[in-house]
Symmetry: C2
């Protein structure tokens, strides 16, 4: 059968991996897809390097729109990232009737509604498996593998940089700053790591997960985002003593009156598989009402793992390129005329367990005050750990794990505890999920 022609825009890490894998496994991929998938043109700013990589096997240009506007190209693979040129590339490709494969979580989390609406109207596909959790086929699992289910929640380690940092902090008892430097040296963290360590990258991905899990529009602006920069080695140690590990989770949870969409450091039971996902690996847990709990694990980044998802999308798109739109999986899992209007809940409405670290003067009555404040807010205590003050110190660390309560109640309780004369400074709060 006639090959399908792909225009690759951006041949950096993921683009290079896509070029390599598509060529190395060409025969096997063709045997699956039913027709050859050929990158016939590549656009990249670095024309010389691109020519070296492609070695004459594809047309090379520095102008992405030369590909976008080329009638011979069937599918555009957008791997340049960002919101500016990438958005123009994607929108113009759709307008030209081309299918799009992209790994651009930021673009889709912010402009997904506009992009998917345009694609729907034009009858083309925009595929984005590579945008979430690298090589793990989590989009496919959620959109297709679990269609029988009312999804209750999804919670994932979806940023490898932060998971590497947290794993190292726990393993070696080091501070965040020290581990970050090490991660940058090893290439696990970028020179400017803000998007990763502040949770923004994870929030982009959690936004996409929330959309396909519940059939709601992408609403990145409503996500609650808290990174790992304020985590202390002592919190990781205390959590461990209580049987928990701290992971940066992206969480999308269905509640009766809306959807929780949040990224924050989270205590999870050490015995859960998810707690044992170490280093730069990714994993997503999904709870469906029929299937129960499932988990998907693999490499969340890197040239070839991410290329694996880009190419899986290329095979899917190739199969359905000429099919009627009704034969295709809807972009956000639900038919566009059957999306949900469930709102994203404000953080004050969110419900979680809590880890509270207090530093209090070691004198009678303090614990009675604290437990009274919690009880006043209807917050019940699940576990408590007290570190006796060292010789000469007059202050003790008290760690309290609470059962699930509303965020606003926890906020009020924390403010009242901080107002106690015995409490020194801020209460450290980390949210807790049992993931059952």
């Amino acid at each position: 059968m006639k090959p399908i022609n792909v225009g690759l825009i951006g041949i950096g890490t993921v683009g290079g991996g896509t070029w390599t894998v598509l060529n190395r496994n060409a025969e096997e991929i063709t045997r699956r897809a039913g027709r050859p998938i050929r990158i016939t043109a590549v656009a990249d700013r670095d024309v010389e390097l691109t020519k070296k990589i492609t070695a004459g096997a594809a047309r090379v240009t520095d102008d992405p729109f030369a590909l976008v506007n080329d009638p011979e190209i069937d599918i555009i693979v957008e791997l340049i990232g960002g919101y500016t040129v990438a958005k123009d590339v994607v929108m113009q490709s759709i307008a030209n009737g081309k299918h799009v494969v992209t790994a651009n979580k930021a673009l889709l989390a912010l402009h997904g509604t506009e992009i998917f609406t345009a694609a729907q109207e034009k009858g083309v596909m925009v595929a984005f498996e590579a945008a979430v959790a690298g090589g793990i086929p989590i989009i496919k699992a959620l959109r297709e593998g679990l269609t029988a289910n009312r999804i209750e929640w999804a919670a994932g380690i979806i940023n490898g940089t932060t998971n590497f940092i947290l794993s190292e902090m726990r393993d070696k008892g080091l501070s965040f700053d020290d581990v970050l430097k090490e991660a940058q040296r090893l290439g696990y963290a970028e020179a400017d790591p803000t998007f990763d360590i502040e949770g923004v990258d994870a929030a982009h991905k959690a936004t996409l997960i929330s959309a396909i899990a519940f059939g709601i529009p992408v609403q990145f602006d409503k996500a609650y985002i808290e990174g790992i920069t304020k985590l202390e080695a002592s919190d990781i140690k205390y959590a461990e003593q209580l049987g928990y590990r701290i992971k940066l989770l992206g969480i999308a949870k269905r509640r009766s009156n809306g959807v929780e969409l949040r990224v924050h450091p989270t205590l999870i039971p050490a015995k859960r598989l998810l707690a044992n996902v170490e280093g730069a690996m990714n994993a997503v847990m999904v709870k469906g009402d029929a299937v129960g709990t499932t988990l998907y694990y693999g490499k969340g980044a890197g040239a070839e793992p991410t290329a694996s998802s880009v190419i899986a999308d290329l095979v899917d798109v190739t199969r359905l390129a000429t099919a009627d739109a009704a034969h295709r999986v809807p972009h956000l899992a639900f038919q566009p005329d059957a999306m949900s209007t469930l709102p994203i809940l404000p953080m004050s409405e969110v419900e979680t367990g809590n880890y509270l670290r207090l530093r209090v003067e070691d004198r009678p009555g303090v614990l009675a005050d604290v437990t009274r404040i919690l009880a006043d807010q209807g917050i019940s205590i699940d576990a408590m750990l007290q570190r006796e003050p060292a010789e000469g110190e007059g202050e003790a660390d008290i760690i309290i794990l609470t059962h699930v309560c509303k965020e606003s109640c926890a906020d009020t309780a924390i403010a009242r505890i901080e107002a106690l004369p015995a409490q020194k400074g801020k209460v450290k709060r980390i949210r807790l999920e049992e993931l059952q």
Copy 2:
């Protein structure tokens, strides 16, 4: 849009779960599939019970062929199991131009080639996500999620009964027989547990995995099958001391000259996620050349988890029911005219590490004899553990972990060790996989 009509054959555990979930989540499933999926008729031997379950919402009969031959029915869901009536039902449904969804691993592992060939010729789909690992969308991951990859191997805990038994043996230090009785009492093992504990069920599933991973025909008759009935609590304990756990794995591995297809108890490193899959849960690891190692975890059996996969297949089939065959995913992942001729290797050609438990008289020179025999076969030793004889006993347990070697070399070495006068009885051998 007009509903698609489903005929459900067999409303036992999985059939009942399918009925329940499809009704409970009807609205959500319709919003995904784009049209309602309705079970309009049910065939089951127990007509009275079936009428009670369906409560007038579907036609009820005891004759499966009344559904198979009903021109109003678009899709047949076969959930009666076995090879006899089930095979006739599936083949006749195909002949009548109906799509089929089935959870019948035994039928497909034995007669898959005949069934898929007939389906291909007739232009209908035979979907079988529920046949492997219950609710885990592993067929979808392998057939669609990892299409970019040359799959190197897949290894899974794909039988919940045996994993429950092994978990209990390890946790409580009990014997196989005692735990089996407990498992039967709790409903984790059937009254006749042969298919589970002898590894036959896992081999059916491993056969299907091998076919879609490598694009080879289903060849259940060539699978090596060894169950868990001869495992002793002491082996589980020794393995633990060496940093390993014993799991019944179904393994499909690509080698340059063929495919390994085997089910047997296997030592795996305790730190692997797969080693920490406990109780009746299932998980499958897949290694692809691009994506690296991925893992898929969830419930491998039960009414609603398995129904989750049956219904996911129904949604897929509904979407593509009227599509051209070229738009569909090939049954065995590769186009039928592009299947691989890679043979299944005989067990003598298989390569694994080994756990060898010797019971030897405690006298000088024994270890020298044993290590000489291993060296003669080119087998190198990775670790050794010696349990000193108890007071009054003259025999010691020696545990040897070997590096990877050919099965035939291990067989020869074991025979020669057993011929040593110092060795008492048989050498206990359990294969070992690092899963890296």
